[in-house]
Symmetry: C2
Subunit: 415 residues, 2 copies
C-alpha cells in the first residue's frame, strides 16, 4: 500500500468522457489499496476563457478579483471528478483550496504555497476516501482566493505530495514522458526512464515544456519522486528523482541526458563600448532595475581603439523594452550603436554527468563546426552548456548534437 | 443617503459589455452617496451548462459536489463586476458565500438561508466600498458550498437586504416590471406601480415568472421593499410592498390586481370511488407521501350507485409518478378507472381587494360562460380565484377576464 498523488492536466479533464478515463485510472490505484489524492486542472481552454473575460473587463484588472474568476475552472473539474468517482463506487469528495486550506502568499495571480493543512486529507485517507483537489488555487491569510500562475497545478500536486509525504506524485499530461529532445525534430529521440531534478529543471527552463519549472524546483527541495506520464495510454513514463537514486541504481551514467532549444531569446550587441572598469555595470544595472532577465553575455577583447563590443541575450518578449532602457542609458554607457537580432536560438546540452567529465563542450563545438554552424555566444553551468546560433539552423543543430552525444535510439526502437 | 441592494439576473450579466451596463447603474447609486451591495447571477446559459456537466457525470450526482460545480458561475460574474466597477473608479470587491459567510441549511441544491454575517458588509459600507455578492450560494455549518435552487439569486438579494436592513432591494431583470397579465397574450396589459407581497406570491406561483416565489415570501416575512425593474432601460419598475403601504397611499384600491395562468397542471379523475368516510384520505395520503403536490380538488355529488368521481390536479411533471402511485393504491381506494388530461390550464384572478368584495367569482364565471368556456374545476383562496379550463382556451380566457375586471389599459396607453 502506497500513498499517491495523481495530477491530471487540462487535456485529460476536457469533458466528461475524458474525466471518466481519469476516474478509471484513479480507481485502479484506489482498488490496489493505495491512499489517493488527485489534483486537477481546469478543462483545456477554460482558463484562457476566464483570463480573457478579466482582460476584457479591464486591462488593469485587480489580481485579487482575477483570482476569484480564474480559480473557478478547477473548482468545476474537481466537483465533476468527485461525482464520476462516486458513480464508479469510489468514495470521493472535492476539497477546494480554501477548504483544506492551502495557504499561500498574497502575491495574487502568482502566489507561492506556504503550507498545506493535512488534517482533513489524513482523515479522508483514514476513511478510504479519495481527495480531489483543484490545482492552481490557494488562500491568503486574510482569506482571499489566490492562484499560482499558469501551469500552477503541477506545483499544487507536488506540494500536496510533499505535505502528505506521498510515495509518488504522478503527473498525467498529454506527452508520455520526458525525451532526450523534441521528438518532432529528432524522430530518434528516446524517452528517458529516469532523470534528475537538476536536469529536468534545465530541460524545462530551456524549452521542454512538460512540467512547470517551479514544480520541479519544489520537488527537488522536498525530495518528491515525480513521474511524468500520459493519461491516454497504459505505459510507464519518466521518473524525476534525486541523483543518488539514479547512481544507486548501479547503471552506467549517461554523460548527456538531453538536448533542449529555446527560440524565445533575442541577441543584443552594443558596439564600441569604452573598455573601462565599471563599464559592464552601466549596461546591466539599468536592465536589472527594469526587471529584464539577461542570459548569455559575451564581451569581446578590446579593440585597439580602447573600445569593446558587448553581446547578450534577453527574452524576445522583453526586447523592445530592453532597447528602450539601453537608449535611455546611452550617455552613461557611452556605446556607439545597438544591434539586435531575434532570429536566434539557444541550444543546450544537459546532463549531470558533465560534472565529472571534461570535453563535453569540445564535442559540442566540434559537431557544430563540422556542419558550419556559427556560434554567436556561449554560456555554461555545472550541468549545462548552451550556445546561441542562427535560428535557421535550430533543427540541424539539435539533430547533430543528439547524434554526437550518442542519444539516438537504435533503429529498431525508432519504428 | 440610502442603503440599497441591487440584483442583476443572468441576461444582465451575459458578457462584459452588459456587465459594464450593470456597473454604470451601480455607480449611479454609489455616486449618489448610497451604500450599495450588488447580488449577481451567473451569465445566462452558464448554470445550464454546469448542470448538464453534472448530469452527464452521473444522473445520480452527489448534490454536495453539484453545488461546488454550479456555484462557480456566480463566482465568475462577481469577480468580473468588481473588476469593471474598479475600472470605473468605484471601490468594490467580491464577497463569496463562504467569505461572508451566508449560512444555509445542508439541503444541498435547494438550501435555505439561515443567517448572513453582516460584519464584513458593514465594514465595506463604512469604507464606501461596493460589496459584490454572488447570488444562489451559501455555506453549511460544516463549511461546504450550497446553492439555493434555480432562481435562488433573488432570494439571496432579499436575504442580504433583510440582513443589512436595506431601504430597498432592486431586482433588475429582463422584464420592466409586473404586469396585470402576460403582455404577450393581452397587449393592453398594464404595468403595475405597486403590488402587495401576497398578490405577487399568487401571481408568481401561478405563472408570472418574474421573481423566485421564495424570495417574495422572504421579502414579506422580513418586510423588504422590493422593486422589479429592467437593466436595459431607465424607467421605474414595480414596487412590491406591504398592503398597508398601498392603502396608506390613499388610492382607491383596484378589486383585482392581475390575471395569471399556468399550463403546468394536469387533471386526474378517479371514476366511481366508493362514497364512504375516509375515502378521500386513501387517495391523497399516498400522493402526499410520494411528495406530489395536489392542487385543485373537486368531488362530485354521489351517484345513485353510492360511488362518486374525484377530480384533482397535479404538476404535469409529476403526472406519470402520480398515476403510478394511484395504480399501486387501487385496491385501497377502490376506484373503477383513472382518467388523466394534461391539456388543461389554470387561470387565476388575484387581488387583495377580493377580501372585502363579494361577487368576484360570479363575474369570473359569467365572463367565461359568455364565451362558452367550460370550467373543469374551481379553487379559491382569500385573494385568488382559480378555474381549470381546456388549455386551448387559455388566451381567450385571460383576455376576457382582463377586460371583465377593468384591467385593460386605455387605448392611448397601449400605443
Amino acid at each position: 500500500m502506497a500513498r499517491i498523488v495523481m495530477k491530471f492536466g487540462g487535456t485529460s479533464m476536457a469533458g466528461i468522457e475524458r474525466i471518466r478515463n481519469v476516474a478509471t485510472r484513479v480507481k485502479r490505484e484506489w482498488d490496489a489499496g493505495n491512499d489517493v489524492a488527485v489534483v486537477v486542472s481546469a478543462m483545456s481552454g477554460e482558463t484562457d476563457r476566464l483570463v480573457n473575460f478579466c482582460r476584457e473587463a479591464s486591462p488593469l484588472y485587480d489580481p485579487r478579483e482575477y483570482d476569484v474568476v480564474v480559480a473557478s475552472g478547477e473548482q468545476v473539474t474537481s466537483g465533476l471528478l468527485a461525482i464520476v468517482l462516486q458513480a464508479m463506487g469510489v468514495p470521493a469528495r472535492s476539497w477546494l483550496g480554501w477548504q483544506l486550506p492551502i495557504r499561500t502568499s498574497d502575491a495574487h495571480a502568482s502566489a507561492r504555497i506556504g503550507s498545506i493543512d493535512t488534517d482533513r486529507l489524513a482523515a479522508a485517507f483514514a476513511n478510504r476516501e479519495v481527495a480531489v483537489i483543484p490545482g492552481f488555487q490557494g488562500l491568503t491569510d486574510d482569506e482571499r482566493i489566490t492562484t499560482l500562475g499558469r501551469g500552477g497545478s503541477d506545483t499544487s500536486a507536488v506540494a500536496v505530495a510533499a505535505a502528505m509525504k506521498a510515495d509518488r506524485c504522478d503527473i498525467y499530461t498529454d506527452v508520455d514522458g520526458v525525451y532526450t529532445t523534441d521528438p518532432r525534430i529528432v524522430p530518434k529521440a528516446r524517452k528517458l526512464d529516469k532523470i534528475t531534478y537538476e536536469e529536468m529543471l534545465e530541460l524545462a527552463s530551456v524549452g521542454a515544456k512538460v512540467l512547470q519549472t517551479r514544480s520541479v524546483g519544489l520537488a527537488m527541495k522536498e525530495k518528491v519522486r515525480v513521474q511524468v506520464l500520459t493519461s491516454f495510454e497504459d505505459k510507464p513514463g519518466t521518473l524525476i528523482v534525486g541523483e543518488e537514486e539514479i547512481e544507486g541504481n548501479g547503471m552506467e551514467r549517461q554523460l548527456i541526458t538531453g538536448i533542449a532549444y529555446d527560440r524565445n531569446e533575442a541577441k543584443v550587441t552594443l558596439v564600441a563600448v569604452p573598455d573601462r572598469p565599471g563599464a559592464v555595470a552601466t549596461i546591466f544595472t539599468p536592465l536589472a532595475n527594469a526587471n529584464i532577465n539577461v542570459d548569455m553575455i559575451v564581451q569581446n577583447v578590446a579593440h585597439d581603439s580602447g573600445n569593446t563590443d558587448v553581446t547578450f541575450t534577453v527574452p524576445t518578449a522583453e526586447l523592445t523594452r530592453a532597447l528602450d532602457v539601453l537608449d535611455k542609458a546611452r550617455t552613461d554607457i557611452g556605446y556607439e550603436k545597438v544591434l539586435s537580432d531575434s532570429n536566434v536560438c539557444k541550444v543546450s546540452v544537459v546532463g549531470v554527468g558533465m560534472r565529472s567529465h571534461a570535453g563535453v563542450a569540445a564535442t559540442m563545438f566540434a559537431a557544430l563546426a563540422d556542419r558550419k554552424i556559427n556560434i554567436l555566444a556561449i554560456s555554461t553551468s555545472e550541468i549545462k552548456t548552451s550556445v546561441l546560433i542562427d535560428a535557421d539552423f535550430t533543427e540541424l543543430a539539435v539533430r547533430v548534437l543528439h547524434t554526437a552525444y550518442g542519444l539516438d535510439a537504435p533503429d529498431t526502437a525508432a519504428e
